[in-house]
Symmetry: C2
Subunit: 201 residues, 2 copies
Amino acid sequence: MDDDSRDRPSAPVGRSERARTAALSAALALATELPYPQVTMEAIAARAGVGKATLYRRWPHRGALLVDAVAHRNAAAAAGGGIPDTGDLVADLTAVLRSVVDELADPGWDALLRALCVEALVDTGIGAQVLEQVFAPQIALFADRFATARAAGQIDGSVGDVEAFELVVAPVFHRWQLRTGVLDHAYGDAVVRRACRALAP
Amino acid sequence: MDDDSRDRPSAPVGRSERARTAALSAALALATELPYPQVTMEAIAARAGVGKATLYRRWPHRGALLVDAVAHRNAAAAAGGGIPDTGDLVADLTAVLRSVVDELADPGWDALLRALCVEALVDTGIGAQVLEQVFAPQIALFADRFATARAAGQIDGSVGDVEAFELVVAPVFHRWQLRTGVLDHAYGDAVVRRACRALAP
């Protein structure tokens, strides 16, 4: 959408695409290593080995670059298969929530995702970008799994995909953000069990 | 805890308590009227009619003052009765969530609460203060209502109060913060219905 370069694989375009990937990787690496105030466009450019002007041509600020980097990494992870579909909805969602819990427990990712939350809260433009590039693809993955669960009569047909997604994910997000309690696999497992009871026909 | 003045009701203490209340009211008023960057300690002091030094003696920064202001206002609201107990858990929680939804729909409160979320995400000290002064009292109100529901056999005895609270509140908080969809009474009502199904024995 922001990049039609893949349709014209010429030499300069290949270079531009390599610069983009280098910038996304550098941004992600720095944001999981350093306190956020140190994750400047300058530092990202230096790590990526590109000029600062190259970054600003594509991204107006580091927030936009960071959202893009997280979305790019999520897309790569989702290309590996999305949410498992064994026919057992509780088991499949449990596996997904455990990996979410593990990610949130990683100090680097914790810091990066808190920084993104702040960016999204402060700037509604970045908020919309987070929704479109980070959450919408995640919700789409869940929606695919909910569709087969619905077809198998495991979910009440009147519950929408976003509502079902929020029922499963929001308690974990809430506990992570507000530190209301221990966030571990046992908590994620219990959330999934309760959500599936709530979603049952 | 941060104020033992109520044990010694002498004249200067009364003045100090009035200054505190004036500062809390001024902070709340300004934070629901102005963009957050303009809600400075200076502006709060001017509105409250006290010196800036008076504010700094009690609060290290505006974040701490704002959390205190929200907690103070919630305590005043809770003194009016807390969560209703008609015996009908769905109806009682629906009434509570509707007022939460209404509050989040108010542009002034929306801005203030987003600013507080940012403060809590950026500074773990303020995060802990938000948890202790804002969320813990709210969770305690829900816990009282969950206790009578548990005694009436309406809630599975193995579900903890914080878990039950998160099941009810987190989807609304998530939708508000990330703008994943329309946040209205219908959404809050559906969340309560599903949460109560999930919580049933």
